[in-house]
């Protein structure tokens, strides 16, 4: 099974990386973007059950005080179906707002130290199974934003296309 785990900053805590990106966006004289939120993404691929994945999310990947998570089940290319939300995340909260999403992932073969560390931590949890982990970054950009602007933000700030690829949706 393959699951995608997205980490959210809980309400009431600052999404610092998002704020930082927003100020960098302003530095590029790009307007219209009013807010940025950042979420780390992890794809766990291997022989993990759903409940084991939930344990990985809650014990290893989140900070219990400031963060929560959503787990999605992945088909080969697409991770869409939400199958678990920690109690204070509601993806539906965003639905009334204008926003775009940029996801950034390392290209194949590029060293990804965070993923290697997650694999170690999962083993320490007592889950002795062969898994692959991928670590990515998800940015929610709020406002009415043109595609060309999104591309600009992605290539000038968020991704170095030499080693990373990005998706806009």
């Amino acid at each position: 099974m393959m699951f995608e785990i997205e980490i959210f900053t809980k309400k009431g805590f600052k999404n610092l990386r998002g704020e930082h990106i927003l100020s960098d966006i302003c530095g590029l004289s790009i307007e219209n973007i009013t807010r940025v939120e950042y979420s780390p993404l992890y794809v766990v691929d291997g022989d993990m059950s759903f409940s084991e994945t939930e344990m990985i999310a809650s014990e290893v990947l989140i900070d219990k005080i400031t963060e929560s998570y959503v787990i999605r089940q992945c088909d080969t290319e697409c991770c869409s179906r939400v199958i678990s939300e920690s109690f204070d995340v509601k993806e539906t909260d965003r639905l009334n707002l204008d926003f775009s999403v940029i996801e950034v992932w390392y290209k194949k073969g590029v060293t990804d130290t965070v993923s290697e560390s997650v694999v170690k931590a999962v083993k320490d949890l007592g889950l002795i199974k062969e898994i692959k982990v991928k670590n990515g970054h998800k940015y929610y950009l709020y406002g009415e934003i043109l595609q060309v602007t999104l591309n600009n933000v992605a290539t000038r700030l968020l991704a170095n296309t030499l080693i990373q690829e990005y998706k806009i949706h």
Binding site: G109, V110, T111, R156, I163
Partner: protein, 813 residues
């Protein structure tokens, strides 16, 4: 020779010159036609075609990055002065300049110079200290974060790989960037905006250095539009090594052990790539990402293995990967390596890729067979991968195996000494320097200029960068990069001092690190740029308490394309200056590195960087308690200017911001200057000096202001009391006296600002007797920084807090 499916034979025996050259270009080998011909001849003698592994191995070993063909090659040099041309031939440019100076100086405390991964000097009777500075320019241009991080990781491995391994104590970082405020539309296509590069480079250094736990204690950042397309990233590391661990010796039968990271396709062609101009479609695999934690684990474990004498030699995998590391270690013996045993990150690598990959965090050890189990146990106990991949032989050949097939077999002699030495021509035309028109300014204008200078990118506070680096990890940084009398305010220190008390128990000694760099001077006068850079690095070290008799220096040349005679000519000028100044100050070079070909072409137009020489200094301090900082200490103390002020505004920051034409580039007057440096050390040994600051960019007015605002104090300086050179002196002949602005902003070398307590004044003056110096003012209890010339009716008065704010608000992202 048999080849597996993963290894190809390259047909070169019957290729024409054009085809040979095309082969080199197509496969990113960066080899000249002449080199390709030598290879062709070698294999003609062997009566067979080479394999791809062999061709790649030769390309790596012969690369500019590994062999430094230009610097150690022959140069036909022509110099033109006043219409007359003189010629000189160098058989080995480095050998006849920098290296020669060190050989002639023959300092007994130089323990290992120009032969290992780093230079080593004596620290005390038991230990030596090693220092190395590297560049990582091209990767940092393409992937600033990964490029600078692996730059740090790489130079740390140089220190781990010197002798039998030194323990790193501190790092230095020097960067050259384009203007961070440039409009995005003016940035050439395919180039990252300077601000993105800066942020990426700083984060890369931060994340690697902080994680591995080596304090980044010294550095500088230099801005010039010439670096927009091609930033420079210099990384240095200093480490400590027991004297009895300095020599490597390999015996036939020793095993080849590769330790640390796994091998992937990262950084294939890094070594040859660094000799290629950057263009829009630069090779993807040239970019590498580092993992500092793996390197930290290697550090932790290898020092343990070193102290148990479990291996006979070690070196790092840098440019050229295993091919360089094993090649170097086995040069005298020969080696056989089983490439299929090398641990891989993923499957699918060809033998030649395994052999030349520049995957990070790997070290190669030569281990006697009896110790192999024990050493592997030490590594594995802390989760460090260690795999035996071959052995050192006695056949003086390099043999590479893959799945029981021989995929390469070449003579070490050919590999290491077969490269044809190119002969390059160099030309330099001396530029005439003239004193600028008298700079007449009102008090108000001088005041304004002072604030602009403090806010200038090349003078302003780099606190935003410095505080992101953990410059105090290991607890040994006793002279810090930012200095003040309390913890709220600080100014720019001249140098850093490490007190290695956790490694050398009971020691009182310290190690000082500093640097000198001024590319602006080089645009007018490369000789004096190099001379000034050396002197500045020495001044910086002396200012915190170093003994000039125990300082060594490192050179790092970043130049444009050396195939242009003018560019190579300026390099010759700089290297001649290195010889002269090293000899004059009796300060030996112990190591160095060059990065040539710093050029970038867009739409056929070539951009080249300003010729840039970084000098890094390392010295030993007898007693760290005698070191001083640059902030003023006490009201009523006296201020002295040591050294003489000449009319030298050429290439100065003041000339740049005021658009002043002409001007003479500061020269080095070693007799005056060395004498003062020695006396400062004597005075500091008797604790007669409260604060000391080097006088360089921005001149006296900036140096004094920095000393005042970092202490939140005032100061009063009488401009008329500053010793200036008689206008009859030849180089600065102008037939006139200097104006107050010229005195304040001139960047003459050899000067220090010193604070002395009134009670110590007599003793201090006695030590300085015979040198040129003068008392110019005193520390005051208000916060007013005042410079006054009654003779010229000029008075500058500025609040030190306002000056502080001018200085620290430029880079504050």
């Amino acid at each position: 020779m048999k080849c597996t499916a993963r290894c190809e034979t390259i047909k070169i025996l019957n290729l024409s010159d054009e085809e040979l050259f095309e082969l080199s270009r197509k496969n990113v080998l960066s080899m000249s036609l002449e080199e390709m011909r030598v290879i062709q001849n070698y294999f003609k003698k062997l009566k067979r075609e080479p394999t791809d592994v062999e061709i790649e191995t030769i390309a790596q070993t012969w690369s500019e990055h590994c062999k430094h063909k230009t610097l150690t090659g022959a140069v036909e040099y022509t110099e033109e002065k006043d219409g007359e041309k003189t010629k000189r031939t160098y058989n080995n440019l480095l050998g006849e300049t920098i290296f020669k100076a060190s050989v002639e100086l023959d300092k007994p405390w130089c323990l290992s110079i120009f032969k290992d991964n780093a230079g080593i000097i004596e620290f005390d009777s038991e230990n030596g200290v090693a220092f190395k500075v590297e560049t990582h320019n091209h990767p940092s241009a393409l992937e600033p974060y990964g490029g600078s991080a692996t730059g740090v990781g790489g130079v740390i491995r140089d220190i781990l790989g010197v002798g039998l391994g030194a323990k790193p104590l501190a790092s230095t970082d020097v960067f050259c960037f384009g203007d961070p405020d440039i409009e995005i539309s003016k940035v050439p296509e395919g180039v990252h905006h300077p601000k993105r590069i800066i942020k990426g480079v700083v984060s890369g250094v931060r994340d690697y250095g902080n994680r591995i736990g080596i304090p980044t204690v010294n550095g500088t950042v230099y801005f010039d539009d010439g670096y927009i397309s091609n930033p420079l990233v210099y990384c240095g590391t200093m480490g400590i090594i027991p004297k009895n661990k300095i020599d490597k010796k390999i015996e036939s039968g020793d095993l080849v052990l590769v330790v640390g990271g796994k091998t992937g396709r990262d950084g294939i062609h890094g070594a040859t790539f660094s000799s290629i101009q950057l263009d829009k479609e630069s090779d993807v695999s040239a970019v590498q990402i580092g993992n500092p934690i793996i390197e930290k684990k290697v550090l932790d474990t290898m020092i343990k293995a070193r102290d148990l004498n479990l291996y006979r030699a070690v070196t790092d995998c840098g440019a050229g990967g295993l091919s360089s590391a094993v090649g170097e270690l086995g040069e005298k013996t020969g080696a056989v390596v089983y490439l299929d045993k090398v641990p891989l990150k993923y499957n699918g690598l060809c033998p030649w890729e395994i052999w030349i990959s520049e995957a990070q965090e790997r070290m190669v050890f030569a281990v006697p067979p009896r110790n192999i189990e024990k050493i592997i146990e030490i590594f594995e106990k802390e989760n460090v991968e260690a795999v035996c991949i071959g052995e050192f032989t006695d056949d003086k050949k390099l043999t590479l195996m893959y799945d029981n097939d021989i995929v390469a077999s070449m003579d070490m002699e050919f590999l290491h000494n077969g490269v044809p030495k190119p002969i390059k021509s160099a030309f330099y035309k001396m530029k005439e320097e003239k004193v600028q028109k008298p700079v007449e300014m009102s008090s108000f204008e001088v005041s304004n200029s002072l604030n602009s200078l403090l806010a200038d990118l090349n003078i302003c506070s780099k606190e935003w960068i410095v505080r992101q680096y953990d410059h105090e990890v290991q607890g040994q940084t006793v002279i810090k990069p930012l200095q003040g009398n309390n913890i709220e305010i600080s100014g720019p220190g001249d140098a850093a001092v490490i007190f290695p008390y956790t490694v050398v128990k009971g020691t009182k000694k310290g190690i000082v690190l500093s640097n000198g760099l001024n590319p602006q001077y080089g645009k007018i006068n490369p000789y004096n740029m190099a001379a000034s850079a050396i002197e500045e690095s020495l001044r910086n070290a002396v200012a915190v308490g170093a003994d000039i008799r125990r300082i060594s220096i490192l050179d790092n040349f970043c130049w444009g394309n050396p195939n242009h005679p003018e560019i190579l000519g300026s390099l010759v000028q700089a290297m001649e200056a290195c010889y002269d100044i090293s000899k004059a100050f009796e300060v030996p070079f112990i190591s160095g590195k060059d990065s040539l070909h710093n050029e970038y072409s867009i739409n056929g137009k070539k951009y080249s960087i300003p010729s840039t020489l970084l000098i890094s200094a390392m010295g030993i301090i007898e007693n760290v308690e005698n070191t001083v900082t640059m902030s003023l200490k006490k009201d009523g103390n006296k201020i002295f200017v040591l050294g003489i002020t000449r009319n030298e505004l050429g290439g100065s920051v003041f000339s740049k911001i005021r658009n002043i034409e002409g001007g003479i580039v500061p020269g080095v007057y070693h007799r005056e200057s060395k004498d003062i440096m020695e006396k400062i050390y004597s005075a500091m040994s008797e604790n007669l000096i409260e604060a000391c600051h080097d006088c360089s960019e921005g001149g006296i007015v900036v140096a004094v202001s920095e000393m005042a605002f970092s202490a939140n104090k005032g100061v009063k300086v009488d401009i008329d009391a500053i010793k200036i050179y008689s206008y009859l002196e030849e180089r600065c002949r102008s037939g006139r006296e200097m104006t107050p602005a010229e005195i304040l902003f001139s960047e003459s070398n050899g000067r220090f600002i010193v604070e002395v307590e009134p009670d110590n004044e007599e003793k201090f003056k006695k030590i300085l007797d015979g040198s040129i110096f003068s008392e110019v003012g005193y520390v005051s209890d208000d916060k007013e920084v005042i410079f006054e010339s009654k003779k010229n009716n000029v008075k500058i008065r500025q609040n030190s807090e306002i000056l502080l704010n001018s200085w620290r608000n430029t880079i504050n992202w």
